[in-house]
Amino acid sequence: MNTADLLTLLPFLLIAGSSVFVMLAITAWRRHWLSLCITLVGLAAAFGSLWLVAPLAPRRVTSLLILDHYALFYIGLIIAATFAIAILCYGYLQGHSETREELYVLLLVATLGSMVLVASSHFVSFFLGLEILSVSLYALSAYLHNRRRPVEAGIKYLILAGSSSAFLLFGMALIYAQLGTMELPGLAASLAGAQKSPLVLAGLTFIITGIGFKLGVVPFHLWTPDVYEGAPAPVTAFIATVSKGAIFALLLRYFYTVGAQHLRPVFVLFAIIAIASMLIGNLLALLQNNVKRILAYSSIAHMGYLLVAFEAGGSMASEAIAFYLVAYFITTVGAFGVVTVLSDEERDADTLEDYAGLFWRKPVLASIFTLMLLSLAGIPVTAGFLAKFYVVTAGASAGIWALILILVISSVIGLFYYLRIVVTMYVRVREGAAYAEPHAISGSYILVALTILLVWLGVYPVPLLNVIRKVLPM
């Protein structure tokens, strides 16, 4: 460890430091706005420090972490998303009487875990990052402990994430037993000679199982709808974006560096998972009446779309995935942001009735939600369209037509339930009935900003594409 190493770790240090700082601030002077301010300043400083770190990249710090442009890109994305989510949390918690300030400590720690994941180059940092993230998420999901559903969600997540970690560890152990290394570069070198080894294949399968749980892909998706429904809306946004995005970035780094996606069994396994996620995610979403559950199943399907790009392989695939994740982050934070803004102290605004006629009461909010849903459905002018276009293009360049065809068919199925929410917002309703009204006004600014970003990326994505092209060759 020298000065340059410490400088490279600056984003991590800043996030970790600000979480400690928030904690100390709470003991001294418990104020909701103060916690938020420290959090936001910490996040902004960490984001800014990326520009200090960038000239040093790529740099390995100990054997655990590698800070290359790829990692920096995803760290930036994670920090930006957390920034938006923290503001949403503020508005969401403002009406609550129970302790509100600790949420930001947990949020920062979870962010730190995700950042470790995207910079991980060793099984140990992989596992450490994952556990830092998961443990904070258990607490975050169950944060509103006076309500029944959040606690249920927290426990469900705890049990399933715990078992998936066990799978993951076992897989790592098997691979270590065969190859004798846990470092990413070492793995890449030694896997070439041991492709057919049953231990390696079994280890890979277990690791895929563990990652599959975290991504919430079929058949490891069972926790997704319950946790999405139960967790407080901004926390759900965090689980859907930062947690899943970080793990996907890690999946991409490990498998692409090692070249494991070229192994026939791995390819077939991921193809099956992708197809099942796309079809089952979209089909089950049709049966739901709860907006958060619909979005949960939709996220299962979206992970399936991402896996199609993953299967394509090559530099175009990793670009497509980066673009898709950016669009998905914006859209998902935006969609859950609308749910957050409409929720009150009693419950989250998650039934379809809460949205009935929203357009005629709150046209701007309803327009934002419409755009977010259309982006999830992949309709032009939104970033979601270009993201899906990119994924299909990556797939077409690799010639995996069957997967693309299923992507197309399942995204048409997806239209049904997106349109269902959209149409509900435009229904005319009687005057005088009680409906969900926006409570958390502070979140509205974030929503407007996200919407502008969404449309900007959907119409003129060139700046982002330039960044991705410059950053991503791994």
């Binding site: 357009f359 005629w360 046209p363 259309l374 309709i379 032009p380 002018v381 369209f385 276009f389 299909v392 293009t393 077409a396 360049s397 037509w401 693309i404 065809l405 197309v408 068919i409 995204s411 048409v412 239209l415 049904f416 349109l419 149409v423 435009y426 005319r428 003129y460 994505p461 060139v462 594409l465 330039n466 092209r469």
Partner: protein
């Protein structure tokens, strides 16, 4: 730049109309009317200028062009271009746009601002489709026109609007995505052949494709356009969508959205895949003829007036499909005239049905009869457009269908004969419409207000246009011919490139 303005005026006009809707409903309507009229005037001036220099049309490929880099990483350009074909379809778009705004003047009373936003944006999307010369941009516009149309049906439609809107959206979205796959396949095939990534229409012409690949790619395009057209048996979304949409929505659907399908076939399928399209022509033409007969028979069987008019579209667009796949000069000219005249006459019929529904609060034919007694002027207008729709000589529709039949005769006599029966069948539904609605005794004792000034303003130009195209369609041909020759030339060159 003027091409961009055409689209921008509509987009900004829509936003202004929406914003104005909060304060004054009347301001919204006027802003929309002015925006569409401005586009119409710009288009008309461009047309007159180009018509006075017919020789120029033959020299340049495009009358006007705008080519900007958009997303260079993928070789995507923001490329708009105008030729005779696009120009005529644009004029139709703006004309029907004006009529739609006028037709909604009293019909739409709720959410007026948002309605006009959607209406103007749908028109902008359609204008984009007719102008885009980059396949990505084309797909972008193609998808873009769906969302506002969906809202028009789902919010302001009739009883089963949500179902109809979803069906419409899903049919077109699925077929659109198949087209996207086809576009990408072509994009990569072109890259393999030349090493260049491009979505540019002019570059993709003549891309060497293996017969197998060409067949699948052509089908991807064809299905998207055939669903929009709509071709039998992919038409099932149409009766629902047209019936449930508000009047302006039906006018735009029948008059313009269906035409984007025909335009796509003309502009993309035939020139890009001439050999495959040629091999496919018999199948397409048989399906077209089935559509002609099927549409007119089902139209005759309807008791809902709007559904009746909707099914006539299946029949008329069958003629267009037939004409396009016959791919000779006469048939193509006929197809173009039919495209325009069907837009005008069916648009007028939908406005007429809307006017009747506003007065009667029903579309059921059985609830009408003897309306001539109380609304003679409206009856006269109805008779005129019914006759136009059944192809009365002297009116535009006749010219189009007659020329298509002449063109198809050179390809297949049997198909010509069967399609001619379709014209006969159209007399049945047209006469049924007039007889049931307007003739006979006024059993239900309706006393209704007759044709108002606003409605007269709508119908008069439409009548004049149909008479003009029926009696002297030459100006339209003059504008269209150079574009048509270019398309045929492209197709020919591509054929030669393939043979080599």
């Amino acid at each position: 730049m003027i091409l961009l303005w055409l689209i921008v005026i509509l987009l900004v006009g829509g936003l202004l109309a929406w914003a104005a809707g909060r304060w004054s409903v009347l301001a919204t309507r006027w802003i929309s009317l002015i925006a569409v009229s401005a586009d119409f005037v710009i288009g008309l001036m461009g047309w007159i200028r180009s018509a006075s220099r017919v020789d120029l049309l033959h020299q340049q490929v495009w009358l006007r062009e705008l080519d900007w880099k958009w997303i260079p990483q993928f070789g995507i350009h923001f490329h708009l271009a105008l030729d005779g074909l696009s120009l005529l379809l644009l004029m139709l778009t703006f004309l029907l746009g004006i009529m739609s705004v006028l037709a909604s003047w009293t019909e739409i009373q709720e959410g007026v601002g948002f309605f006009h936003l959607n209406l103007l944006w749908v028109l902008a999307g359609i204008a984009g489709v007719f102008l885009a010369m980059d396949l990505f941009l084309f797909y972008f516009a193609w998808e873009l026109m769906l969302v506002p149309m969906y809202f028009l049906i789902a919010i302001w439609g009739h009883e089963r609007r949500v179902y109809a809107a979803a069906k419409f959206f899903i049919f077109t979205q699925l077929s659109g995505l198949l087209m996207l796959i086809a576009i990408l396949a072509l994009y990569f095939a072109h890259h393999t052949a030349t090493g260049i990534f491009t979505f540019e229409y002019a570059d993709l012409l003549g891309t060497p494709l293996s017969p197998h690949a060409a067949w699948w790619i052509m089908l991807g395009f064809f299905v998207a356009f055939a669903v929009k057209l709509p071709m039998f048996p992919l038409h099932t979304w149409l009766p629902d969508a047209h019936t449930e949409a508000p009047t302006a929505g039906s006018v735009v659907l029948a008059g313009l959205l269906l035409k984007t399908g025909a335009y796509g076939l003309l502009r993309f399928v035939m020139p890009l895949f001439p050999a495959t399209a040629h091999a496919f022509a018999p199948i397409a033409m048989v399906l077209a003829v089935i559509g002609i007969l099927y549409g007119s028979i089902l139209a005759f069987a309807q008791t809902d007036l709007k559904r009746l008019v909707a099914y006539t579209s299946v029949s008329h667009l069958g003629f267009v499909l037939l004409g396009i796949f016959a791919w000779n000069k006469l048939a193509l000219q006929g197809a173009l005239i039919t495209i325009i005249c069907h837009g005008v006459s069916t648009g007028a019929l939908f406005i007429l049905v809307g006017a009747l529904q506003e007065r009667l609060h029903t579309r059921e034919l059985s609830r009408m009869s003897g309306l001539w007694e109380t609304v003679p002027r409206l009856g006269g207008v109805g008779l005129f457009f019914a006759l136009a729709s059944m192809g009365l000589p002297g009116l535009g529709d006749f010219v189009g269908e007659f020329m298509i039949l002449l063109g198809v005769y050179q390809k297949s006599r049997i198909l010509t004969a069967v399609a001619a029966i379709g014209i006969l069948a159209s007399t049945f539904y047209a006469l049924k419409f007039v007889q049931y609605a307007f003739h006979g005794p006024n059993n239900h004792h309706w006393t209704l207000p007759d044709l108002g000034v606003r409605e007269a303003i709508i119908f008069t130009p439409m009548i004049v246009i149909l008479l003009w195209l029926g009696l002297y369609p030459q100006p339209v041909f003059n504008t269209f011919n150079p574009a048509m020759e270019t398309l045929q030339q492209h197709a020919g060159q591509t054929m030669q490139a393939l043979r080599r």
